[in-house]
């Protein structure tokens, strides 16, 4: 036997059984890709996408135990499975609302569907990567698909501009992350989180600090934390609104999940470096995001800044690097999915009508014309502001408790104060809906699917807010899985 044969002989066949969700999602994407070439039936394309993703989501439930497969490059544990399930479900909710919107805007492309699914596949790879290489490649698949999705608005200069900004900034982020990976590899000689942990332990020198700092900067750029947020408002405003919802909810949650996994599994004992870094970024994000949002007249742009502020609230939990903080982060990011997607789908439903411009003036008297929808928007706004009994309160409360349990008082104070500031713009929407007479005549046409999506998400925001135990338990279990996996190969 030659040396190469000896090296290869030890490797078995990867365990494809635990990869079934990914395989189903990939097949769905390729199927839609081929189908889109041959058929003009738009209903068929969206049906195939939704059914394929639904099967993928169900197949996640059949995987009972975790495994590391593909030669240590892919980990299937409860953490990744749970996140993948939520990612797929919310992608479905975004996809079903896509067709009516893009048709009314005369900007239909069949390509939307498989680009979204490819992006989803990238996120699924990202959340289940125990290795810097698969993490990087998943991040890249997600980002490249999203750059294209932002620019897909026919004959709209703004959309191209937003996509271009996003491409340049995102490309810079990717480059920074690859510098960080190169430094980490140079330092430890390995890409595996577990090996990195064994090599690094609690030693920290200038090289490791720079590497972790660069990694934080790159990931913060992807998660749109201030001061790396400049692409966010433009890209969010420029993209077709259901796509914005997809980016603001699903993409972001995948990014938070991967941030948590990289930081906790690769550098668990160097938390002094990264918890401080994330704390500063989170604090600045909360302040800048909320104060700039106050000035916005366009509600879509306002929600984009609010999503920057929420990046701050969620990542603030990393300032308390213990089980409590991680649980708070997972809980808040899971429930943030409901609020963020709901808010943007609400806008997309109304935006279908020609005389709706997303301007705050358009909200005047909405409660008279569409009482139920206005109530849903009220729930979203209260939830993002953090008023009980909505779930936003529970999320912020969890982060707050985690912060004060670790004695990070300054960040807890920033969180509370900026939340109060945020009332200025969230409540303005509510006030415009309920306290003004309608300026424009006529009701808006709304699609039943959109009504269902917005209503379902709003009810979930209330239900989880009143009874958060299930989600809190899930977050607890995921945290313990994450901590148990430290250093395990």
């Amino acid at each position: 036997m030659t040396i190469v044969q000896q090296l290869v002989a030890g490797l078995g066949v990867p365990n494809f059984q635990v990869l079934i969700p990914e395989i189903i999602v990939l097949i769905t994407a390729l199927l839609v890709f081929v189908l889109e070439l041959f058929t003009k039936s738009r209903i068929l394309i969206s049906t195939v996408s939704v059914v394929g993703l639904a099967v993928g989501a169900l197949s996640i439930l059949t995987i009972s135990e975790g495994a590391i497969t593909l030669y240590g490059l892919y980990i299937v544990d409860s953490f990744s499975l749970a996140f993948k399930f939520f990612l797929i479900v919310f992608t479905i909710l975004a996809i079903v609302n896509l067709q009516p919107y893009v048709e009314s805007k005369k900007t239909y492309y069949g390509e939307y569907y498989y680009l979204i699914i490819f992006s989803l596949l990238g996120m699924m790879i990202m959340v289940s990567s125990p290795n810097l290489v698969s993490f990087y490649i998943g991040l890249e698949l997600m980002s490249v698909s999203t750059y294209i999705l932002v620019g897909l608005w026919k004959k709209d200069y703004k959309s191209k501009e937003g996509a271009f900004k996003y491409l340049i900034m995102g490309g810079a982020g990717t480059a920074i992350i690859s510098y960080a990976i190169a430094l980490i590899y140079g330092k430890t000689g390995s890409f595996d989180f577990a090996r990195i942990f064994h090599e690094v332990q609690d030693k920290s020198d200038i090289g490791l600090t720079v590497a972790v700092a660069l990694l934080i900067v790159g990931l913060a750029l992807k998660a749109s934390a201030v001061p790396f947020h400049f692409w966010t408002p433009d890209a969010y405003e420029a993209a077709p609104t259901p796509i914005t919802g997809f980016m603001a909810s699903v993409s972001k949650i995948a990014t938070y999940a991967v941030i948590l996994r990289v930081m906790v599994e690769a550098f668990p004992l160097n938390n002094a470096i990264w918890s401080y870094g994330w704390a500063v970024l989170a604090g600045v994000s909360m302040v800048v995001g909320n104060f700039v949002a106050l000035k916005q007249k366009n509600v879509k742009r306002m929600l984009a800044y609010s999503s920057i502020a929420h990046t701050g609230y969620i990542l603030a939990a990393l300032a308390s690097p213990n089980g409590m903080g991680f649980t708070a982060l997972i809980f808040y990011s899971l429930v943030y999915l409901f609020m963020a997607l709901g808010g943007f789908i609400f806008l997309s439903a109304f935006e279908k009508n020609g005389n709706w411009t997303n301007d705050i003036e358009d909200f005047k008297g909405l409660a008279k014309k569409h009482p139920i929808m206005a109530l849903y928007m009220l729930i979203y706004m209260f939830s993002m502001l953090g008023i009980p009994p909505t779930v936003g309160f529970m999320g912020k409360f969890g982060v707050f408790l985690a912060l004060i349990s670790s004695n990070v008082w300054w960040l807890a104070v920033v969180l509370v104060v900026t939340s109060i500031v945020s009332a200025g713009y969230y409540l303005r929407v509510v006030a415009y809906m309920y306290m003004y007479e309608p300026v424009k005549e006529g009701r808006f046409y709304l699609n039943p699917i959109e009504k269902f999506t917005v209503g379902f998400l709003a009810v979930m925001v209330l239900v989880i807010g009143i009874y958060p135990t299930v989600f809190w338990e899930i977050s607890n279990v995921l945290t313990s899985v994450l901590i148990m996996n430290i250093g395990v190969r």
Binding site: T2, I3, S145, A182, G186, G207
Partner: protein
């Protein structure tokens, strides 16, 4: 002096001088030509170190593919925009260049020892070539990222076609159906 040492000094001198040329030539075509010269000199350095695979890749990817890309960009950008050396940008790039230099120096001084671990010891390299060693890893452990990279290329290609093509506006013909 050994021949490899002579080769190192000659190649690095060419690389440094042509790199200075890239920055200071007024004519943008001369800049690209000296960039090619830099890249070929660097690939010569790789060959000199015994890393024949990286040397060949350097020529294939940088000196051919990326330079062709630059030439395409130059031929589309108007001449006057690419002429002057702007001292403002030169000043701005100095600190970043210095940081990059520090980083590279750090990696090459400290990184060398750590990354020299793993299954491929120098003894194995004597027996098999560089290309075989890289291929063994690429098609076993790193097969998965390799395959996903093909998906990324597919998506990027679709995106380029989609954003670049002229729109046939079907919806307006059908009256927004």
């Amino acid at each position: 002096m050994e021949l490899s040492v002579v080769a190192f000094w000659v190649l690095s001198a060419i690389a440094v001088i042509s790199a200075i040329g890239v920055v200071f030539f007024k004519n943008i075509v001369y800049s690209v030509l000296s960039l090619i010269s830099t890249l070929i000199a660097i690939s010569g350095l790789f060959f000199n170190l015994g890393a024949e695979l990286i040397g060949a890749l350097q020529i294939l990817i940088y000196a051919v593919a990326i330079v062709v890309f630059y030439v395409l960009v130059i031929s589309t950008v108007p001449q006057y925009k690419g002429e002057a050396v702007d001292p403002k940008y030169a000043l701005l790039s100095a600190p970043f260049g210095f940081i990059l230099f520090l980083e590279l120096a750090y990696v090459s001084v400290y990184g060398l020892w750590a990354s020299n671990t793993g299954i491929f010891s120098p003894d194995i390299f004597k027996e098999i070539s560089n290309a075989k060693a890289v291929a063994t890893l690429l098609f076993t452990k790193y097969l998965f990222p390799f395959e996903v990279a093909s998906l990324i290329l597919l998506v990027a290609m679709i995106g380029a076609i989609l954003l670049g093509k002229k729109d046939i506006v079907e919806d307006e013909k059908e009256g927004g159906a």
